[in-house]
Symmetry: D2
Subunit: 114 residues, 4 copies
């Protein structure tokens, strides 16, 4: 890959996409699925944006930065939601929130880069 | 596109993917989300396979046929699940079931083609 | 789907994504592939953004509008490139340019909507 | 994630998808693009299948195994093509071939698992 920062951000985006997909699937197995509805919705949107940001970065696209900016926002929104359930002991939400925060940070660095 | 049958199948796959995404999002707004959990899971899997089948067909790939075979199976599974809720009056499940059956049929024709 | 304008835009995005994939594959079969390099690159980036915009719209996401704005830009860039080859008689570029312009217009309407 | 083997396979698929996208983009910058046409085509197909396999595994889908089997095949085909150019000193093809072989091996293990 062209440079280390982009490579790290791609990895963070892909890890986050997978954590979101996994979280959505596990949320659907919870007893109180209704409580998880907003979380599943954020998971699906965040996964779509992470995939897109990673794809554009891997293509060396000029759209990478603007996608990373949007992706960082979606990641933080998803993390906010997951953290509520993480506090209640849901491991998939805890893992997802952590992946989202790491991805948001990596994306913000790309978005801000000169 | 290379030929009419493939073009129609791509369209059926994309329509099905979108119907599945829409159905998942609407299921999450239902009062009894728990009842919809299996439906949302099928929606997510079916959408992933429809996207993949459409993408490979548009690339003229030799893997198109084998993907269409798997996609037809996932579509029928998703339709079976959606039809249960369609009978109860859920419009998004009715639309999704119909898109799934159309896609399954189109995919089976591609999978069987010489 | 929630409303007609969004549905039309999703359709335009998916048609454009498929036209871009098909154009890239056909460009690779041309005698002078080097002349098509920029076109193939635009095709890949445009396809990635169309897929993402369509996916977020189908999920009813609040990120739909901002993605549509970026997607419109990528579509117009891709159309500019394809039109150069369309003038030289390449049918896949002509079809792709038309799909890109239609998609750009649909996306701009969504991006501007109140 | 549910278990270590699946997690490793998801990682291998995502690394391979990104290596394929990067390889395609770099191939387009080579002097003799025509010589790379088959490589770019394999890259695009392989990337699509890697993404799909990773997505289905992250969703815990029953279709994971069959997708992994197809993905392993596409990875080996892409590696065969990339290795020809790797011998001529193209670094992106060398990296891509390695990522493809690792992914093929990981996918074969999942496909064969009881």
């Amino acid at each position: 890959m062209t440079n280390q920062k982009i490579k790290e951000c791609i990895d963070a985006c892909l890890a986050c996409m997978m954590a979101c997909n996994h979280c959505a699937t596990e949320c659907l197995k919870e007893d109180n699925v209704k409580m998880m509805a907003k979380c599943i919705q954020s998971d699906m949107e965040c996964a779509a944006l992470c995939r897109s940001a990673a794809e554009l970065m891997s293509l060396g696209s000029n759209y990478s930065k603007v996608l990373c900016k949007i992706c960082a926002d979606a990641c933080n929104t998803c993390a906010d939601e997951c953290e509520k359930h993480a506090e209640m002991g849901m491991e998939h939400c805890k893992e997802c929130a952590e992946a989202c925060r790491r991805c948001a940070e990596a994306c913000e660095q790309i978005a801000k880069a000169a």
